[in-house]
């Protein structure tokens, strides 16, 4: 993400952003005006009416009806205005245009996956066309997550056992941060993806090729690509360092100690089982936090990942 934008707000990259920022500006400057008026009054009073003599009597004036009506009514009118404005914007955020393209979003500890009606699927990378409304149908498979793209000014919680919706229309090609904003445990702060906005032609090309299975690559090369695109790298390193899960370096065909005290050989079958049913044989020293990739990865992709793990030797 680039760091331009205003002093407070990130750049505006969706159709709703400028309206929302205008509401921000209105409240901001109205607040600043009140703050300055009251602040100047406070400083003026404490200087003008500083105690010059001990024991003097002061005014008993404790009411001024016109003044009190003014400072009740004026803020009420301003606030009512802000309320109506905020509500209208909110409705706009909630009603997706009829011609929206639809993508299914699944949140789970700790990655996002996206399914396109055309059959393509991605992890941690939502690819969309520019200038076209996109409607997301979202659900979670475990705890509550929240889908947030600051540059689009959109956010919606992603709940287990219930669908929520969110829509946006990107106005510029580029990569935008996608963040989880509902606390979901150990990997919450790494549940970060990208929204990649492409031109219409590039998007259609991508959509056609995305269903592919690493044509023209060796299985290990394809596995290396999946290691990143399917978010394995959130929890596993390839340099031997211990992150959330074990490192893949020198993992293949070594003896591992399980939580139940039994040793296990990290061969092809063990690796496959650990991808599809991670809690079945857990290596000692790690928490049972990995989700199952059953249904997320196709057989050929699992083969490629295992080939990649086999290639990681010092």
């Amino acid at each position: 993400m680039d760091t331009t934008g205003t002093f407070f707000l990130p750049p505006q990259n969706s159709t709703v952003a400028s309206d929302i920022d205008f509401l921000w500006d209105f409240i901001y400057w109205a607040s600043a005006a009140f703050f300055v008026i009251l602040g100047v009054a406070i400083f003026y009073f404490i200087i003008r009416y500083r105690r010059r003599r001990q024991g003097e009597l002061t005014t008993g004036v404790a009411h001024n009806l016109p003044l009190e009506i003014a400072w009740t009514v004026i803020p009420t009118i301003l606030i009512f205005f802000v309320f109506v404005w905020g509500f209208k914007g909110y409705m706009k955020l909630h009603i997706a245009p009829g011609d929206s393209m639809e993508v299914k979003v699944t949140g789970q500890k700790w990655f996002w996956s996206f399914q396109y009606p055309e059959g393509a699927s991605t992890v941690n990378e939502l690819v969309v066309p520019v200038d076209k409304p996109v409607k997301l149908l979202m659900s979670s498979v475990d705890v509550i997550h929240s889908f947030y793209v600051p540059n689009f000014r959109v956010k919606m919680d992603v709940l287990p056992n219930r669908y929520t919706e969110l829509w946006f229309e990107a106005t510029a090609v580029g990569d935008y941060d996608l963040l989880c904003t509902e606390y979901c445990g150990k990997g919450h702060s790494e549940m970060i993806g990208k929204v990649r906005v492409l031109g219409e032609r590039e998007f259609n090309e991508w959509l056609e090729s995305a269903g592919g299975m690493g044509e023209g690559m060796t299985p290990a090369e394809y596995g290396a690509q999946l290691f990143k695109s399917k978010a394995c790298n959130t929890c596993h390193s390839i340099d031997g360092s211990k992150v959330v899960g074990p490192s893949f370096l020198n993992l293949y065909n070594t003896q591992q100690m399980l939580t139940n005290g039994q040793p296990v050989m990290a061969d092809e079958n063990y690796l496959r089982e650990s991808i599809l049913n991670p809690q079945a044989k857990l290596v000692a020293g790690y928490d049972p936090v990995m989700p199952s990739y059953q249904g997320v990865l196709k057989d050929q992709q699992i083969d490629a990942l295992i080939a990649y793990i086999k290639s990681l030797k010092e």
């Binding site: 760091t3 407070f8 707000l9 990130p10 709703v16 929302i20 509401l23 409240i27 607040s31 703050f35 009251l38 406070i42 009073f45 404490i46 009416y49 500083r50 105690r51 003599r53 001990q54 024991g55 003097e56 009597l57 002061t58 005014t59 008993g60 004036v61 404790a62 009411h63 400072w71 009740t72 803020p75 606030i79 802000v82 309320f83 905020g86 509500f87 914007g89 909110y90 706009k92 475990d142 705890v143 509550i144 947030y148 600051p150 540059n151 000014r153 959109v154 956010k155 919680d157 709940l159 287990p160 056992n161 963040l179 904003t181 606390y183 445990g185 990997g187 702060s189 959330v244 928490d287």
Partner: protein
Amino acid sequence: MSHDSTAALSYLQEPKGLKSWLLTVDHKRIGIMYLCAIMFFFFVGGALAVILRTELLRPERILMDADTYNQFFTLHGAIMIFLFIIPSIPAALGNFLLPLMVGAKDVAFPRLNLASWYVYVFGALFCLYSIISGAVDTGWTFYAPYSTTTSTSVISMTLGVFILGFSSIFTGLNFIVTIHKLRMPGMTWFKMPLMVWGLYATAIIQVLATPVLAITLVLLIMERLMGVGIFDPAMGGDPVLFQHFFWFYSHPAVYIMILPGMGIISEVISTFSHRKIFGYKAIAYSSLGIAFVSFLVWGHHMFTSGQSEIAAMIFSFLTFFVGIPSGIKVFNWVTTLYKGSISLETPMIYALMFLFLFMIGGFTGIMLGALALDVHLHDTYFVVAHFHYVMMGGTVMAFLAGIHYWWPKMFGKMYSERWAKVVAVIIFVGFNMTFFTQFILGAKGMPRRYYTYLDQYQPLHGFSSVGAWVLGAGFMIMAVYFIASFWSKRKVGDNPWGALTAEWETSSPPPQHNFLTDPVFKHGPYDYDKIAVVGDYYKQSGGTKMAEKI
């Protein structure tokens, strides 16, 4: 007048012995015991905050791993909310002052009052036990289904909070009855000090809202222990239901925290301006108005939770109506300065700091209440900054104003005014460095509860962390000058600031039964247009010299 009551022994001197403290039914001693307990937890919660900010200095690991970080921010929130800020003003200062301010010997139910302290300690022990038994990593909000599925010790923490709720209910009940039945002859409702109004509005919320939290936490514990499917969808429950239940208590609870603070501000501003408070009835009624409306706005915590648009609209509308009475209070406080006789001692400096910080907290609250804007700001550092401006910039500053204001009354000792003013400046600077930065972070999209973060947020995070160290240093110096004040040789008079409320008519510190003769209401709490008392503090510190200069 300052030395005529020294013949009577103060509540600190008589009776003697540890047992006389542990079994006391004297509201003043219970207030002091509460003060010790909450200051201990404020220190623990504050230390956690400084450690958390240090970890956030850079995105990579500095002190701890993600699990520990998650436990630390949960503990910081839970300790600060349930063990410090909710009991801070009502149970510590309120307990000490309420009977004195209404001219009573004690609260209505002194034994219940002592019981509330023991219940508090018992609940606190459960919370502490949760730390050694695996800690909690759910955030202080315990959102389901995360809280029903995590492996950490959620049960002991929620059980602790459940027990603490009873302590809060006992205190509230006690205050309501005390205010209704034990006011001195002649003190009608609209002659009560505004601090008493603040405590009254607070007590109503404590009694009515706390049971809902208790029920919610029991349901959560039942779900974890017995697998009753209430919140976890895997068992047929509804996770959003938990949020409704939780905020039905926890939003009014925000006003449990701020209303008594507003009471303190009314007292301090009037005393140090030596001027009749402007709009007494407006301030009193707005406290009750806030208490009432606070029950109807919980859904504004859930604008992005998937609740219906019509619910969001109603909650947004009502939320703005909490803003109006808060605004009216600020206008009244500022107008009270007009044509006053203003003296800037430490309590007044904290009260002025409150005004500035609370204004920012309030304005950013308007931003969050505006539906379309809240969608962008929800669950980011903007919200974190907003509630720290209201809770720390508001309640804690009011608490500090109060503790500096009443310290001479409570202990008969005076702290170093010079150090106190230096620290006030340090705290103001440190606070704004820490939290104003977080408004910018949040508006730029930095989500809350992140152990690590994207590189673009690092400069602001770094600045905020340095602010936290400044803030921490300020509080450490404060602890030193407060403790040092016990060895101060300087005698404090009964009425150092020349205030007109009843607690200043008895000796400092007060005798065991508060007043040597039964107090009768002689003048209003803010009749500075009729009575001028020169405070003992000004008599001693060259007040006459000031008068000569003119």
